[in-house]
Symmetry: C2
Subunit: 83 residues, 2 copies
């Protein structure tokens, strides 16, 4: 399992409710891809959303986002180092 | 207090030890600015580092980075929404 940080742009005006709904939608299907979304953080002003997950591959993380209805992230990076 | 995510680019090849040293350097002075760095995640391949903090302002977060010797982040976003 690898940890990933993915980034969505263009989410200006996102609300706490929308962020929660997106998280719930991915949580409902993430197990099918062996992925777990741990946290997400959003800046409604710049429209940036960061999602931290664990999973077998970046493609698996991307598929959960796409299937969950939140749209594919604009960037996705393995982040093997943490502190 | 506001939560911030900041992003550093150009950190290709960063090691776990370097990430820890950077975190320790900011931890040593962060209280002077009322900032607390909670976590950092690094992708040595793309050279991207994400830092999650709490603090009174983006400028305070930036100053801790600069004074800690890690260099100013390329982006810093308030992330008031989290899940």
């Amino acid at each position: 399992m690898t940890r990933f940080m993915d980034v969505h742009h263009g989410m200006q005006g996102i609300t706490a409710q929308q962020l929660k709904e997106g998280h719930d939608a991915t949580a409902a299907i993430e197990q099918e891809e062996g992925v777990h979304f741990e946290h997400a953080w959003a800046d409604p002003e710049s429209g940036t959303v960061y999602c931290l997950s664990e999973g077998p591959s970046a493609d698996a993380v991307r598929r959960v986002h796409e299937r969950g209805g939140g749209g594919a992230p604009d960037e996705i990076h393995a982040v093997p180092l943490t502190v």
